[in-house]
């Protein structure tokens, strides 16, 4: 069986949905951050797959930018988590509800 673009897109969709499920069902802030990483990876996979099947390198270049933004997001996100840990002493998402109406 030949592997087509459809297969890669479906795989990326599955990975993205797993990431969404992790964000919506977990209570541990650090696991939620990892689920966001999963979603970013699924999007990167889509970019590279479409780049391969259209023989256009632009998709691969975009992936670099997505990775840079993801790295920045992890650095700032973990800094916020450490800050929350210092002030509240927990990583539970229910401890962070200052902005909740």
């Amino acid at each position: 069986m030949q592997i087509e673009l459809t297969h890669y897109l479906l795989l990326a969709a599955v990975l993205f949905s797993i990431g969404v499920m992790g964000v919506l069902t977990r209570k541990n802030l650090i696991v939620i951050l990892m689920s966001v990483e999963l979603m970013l990876n699924a999007v990167n996979l889509t970019f590279v797959a479409v780049a391969r099947y259209t023989a256009d390198l632009t998709g691969q270049v975009i992936v670099f930018f997505v990775m840079c933004v993801a790295a920045a997001e992890v650095a700032v996100g973990l800094a916020i988590l450490i800050s929350i840990w210092r002030h509240r002493g927990t990583m539970h998402i229910d401890s962070v509800k200052l902005l909740k109406w």
């Binding site: 087509e4 297969h7 949905s17 499920m21 069902t25 999963l38 590279v48 780049a51 391969r52 992936v63």
Partner: protein, 171 residues
């Protein structure tokens, strides 16, 4: 051969991703995430993107995951008490399943329009080709990203800095 590798990487990545979001201990989640990232890197190699695969392993599996593991171990994180509220849990799974269904149907409906695998130009996906594009057509974006990374570093340091002795903590 390509089919077998794709199937192996796809199954392993989905399995590891599911374990990432279900493992009770955050450290186990992080280690399963490394497996997922390695599988995705393998798929990048199959997609004629060896440079992106290398960057994926160096930046993600290397830097980002080490950062996450470092924080987990530094804070000595125990698994948080996850009192599962059944309606909320089910709603989360339902939303994810609905999203998957919609995307699945969309992909299937356009699947016949998607381009088949075409022969690639020589040098496709090598460091030279990607680098040339990065430093010519996308030079401005490249420079802006470097500023973004600098801002992220400054922001992270500012966020976790302990208040000075004379300074009163606002919180």
């Amino acid at each position: 051969m390509e089919t077998i590798l794709f199937a192996a990487f796809a199954l392993a990545s989905i399995l590891a991703a599911l374990l990432t979001i279900t493992a009770p201990a955050p450290i186990a989640s992080a280690l399963y995430l490394v497996v997922t990232l390695f599988c995705v890197a393998g798929l990048y190699v199959l997609l004629a993107a060896p440079f992106v695969a290398a960057i994926q392993i160096i930046v993600y599996a290397g830097a980002v995951l080490v950062l996450i593991l470092f924080v987990i171990m530094l804070l000595n994180l125990k698994p948080v008490e996850e009192k599962i509220s059944i309606p909320w849990h089910a709603a989360g799974i339902a939303v994810a399943a609905l999203l998957l269904l919609v995307v699945f149907l969309t992909i299937m409906s356009v699947s016949s329009l998607l381009p088949p695998a075409s022969p690639l130009p020589s040098g496709y996906g090598t460091v030279g080709q990607v680098g040339r594009l990065l430093f010519t057509k996308y030079l401005y974006a490249f420079e802006v990203v470097s500023v973004l990374l600098l801002l992220a570093v400054i922001g992270a340091v500012a966020l976790i800095r302990k208040p000075d002795a004379g300074e009163t903590d606002a919180d």
